[in-house]
């Protein structure tokens, strides 16, 4: 498989990662030490938060480029 089109996940927005890692990762019952019962709520809260955080990062990035030029 060629890797030229493979996106490094470092470049992927955190929100896209959370959509998968927090929301879609398989939940396995068992002798889990840490309760993940609230992780759905945490995910939803983060979605709301990140929408503004990512916009801030974008603006910061734009600023950096602006000054660099």
């Amino acid at each position: 498989m060629s890797t030229d089109l493979t996106i490094r996940h470092k470049e992927v927005a955190l929100l896209e990662l959370l959509d998968r890692v927090l929301d879609k990762g398989v939940v396995v019952a068992g002798d889990v030490t840490i309760s993940v019962a609230d992780i759905d709520l945490i995910y939803l809260g983060l979605r709301v938060l990140l929408c503004s955080v990512e916009r801030m990062q974008e603006m910061r990035y734009t600023n950096t480029v602006w000054h660099a030029e």
């Binding site: 879609k24 398989v26 002798d31 929408c51 955080v53």
Partner: protein, 318 residues
Amino acid sequence: MNSDQRSAVSDQAPIASRQSPVANPQSPVSDLPDGDPVCVYAILPAAEIELPSIPGIDQTRPVYGLAGKAVQAVVSRVRADQFNQSALEAGLQDPAWIDVHVRAHQQVLDTLVATRQPVIPLRFCTIYRDEAAVRAVLTAHEPALVAELDRLRGRQEWGIKLFVAQEALQAAILTQHTEPGDLTFALLSVEGDDAALRALQTRIAGMSAGRAFLLQKKLDALVVQKADEITAGVVEESHAHLSGHAVAATSLALHPNPPGMELNAAYLVAERELDGFRAELARLGEEYGGAGVRYELSGPWPAYNFIELDLNGRGNDQ
């Protein structure tokens, strides 16, 4: 990975319990404190895979394989004082903590996907008391895990996001539809109200300022309406065409930032169909690029959006 390793069968004889099928000489498991809990990242076939030495979500602890009979869990120890209930609850309130640890988690998954073995990705921070607890889960669910891994073999998840730059699309509606040679012409002409748009444009040009203002408002509304219709059409057609190259497809929640996202979808693509999938994406990009449409590809991901396994309903046998 070489072909010998790929051909290793998943039902080979069980590996000695403390040995790791993940080739990772720099992580002698016996050096790790037995008291620390175990974070599980994914479940793979028991076939030996080659992994670089990488840290888990606890940067001081490497990832290794924990063999069951036909499947293995890829795990790392985590320090109990850093990854206990209260520490995790605090961490999960902190976006910076989440960013670092979710990316570390995904780094492990990326490495596993790169081995070309099927991967069942577990939820972030699935942490067990000890290795025995992880083994118990593998044993309890082994038939379902094996069946799911067989189903995922040779398939990859790819993400596609479709963005529409509204200004570019609206400009295209007002200008490009007068050039029949343009690919966008066919798209923009489908709705059949070009004549109304063009008549309005012509009328506005010859009018007094006051009346022109009112008609311009009407024209703007028509253009927005048409842009919405075109956007919906492009989204539907793109998803249908890309799905044609996929085993399964699903659309995900849109992200408000960056603006203009109209489709966020995941596709489960057989490796042999990957070239066709990419060619379709390139064709769509060429066809609709002139109308302000842009596609973003991400992957390969573990098949997060296509896992049919439900292990949540029953506990293990402890």
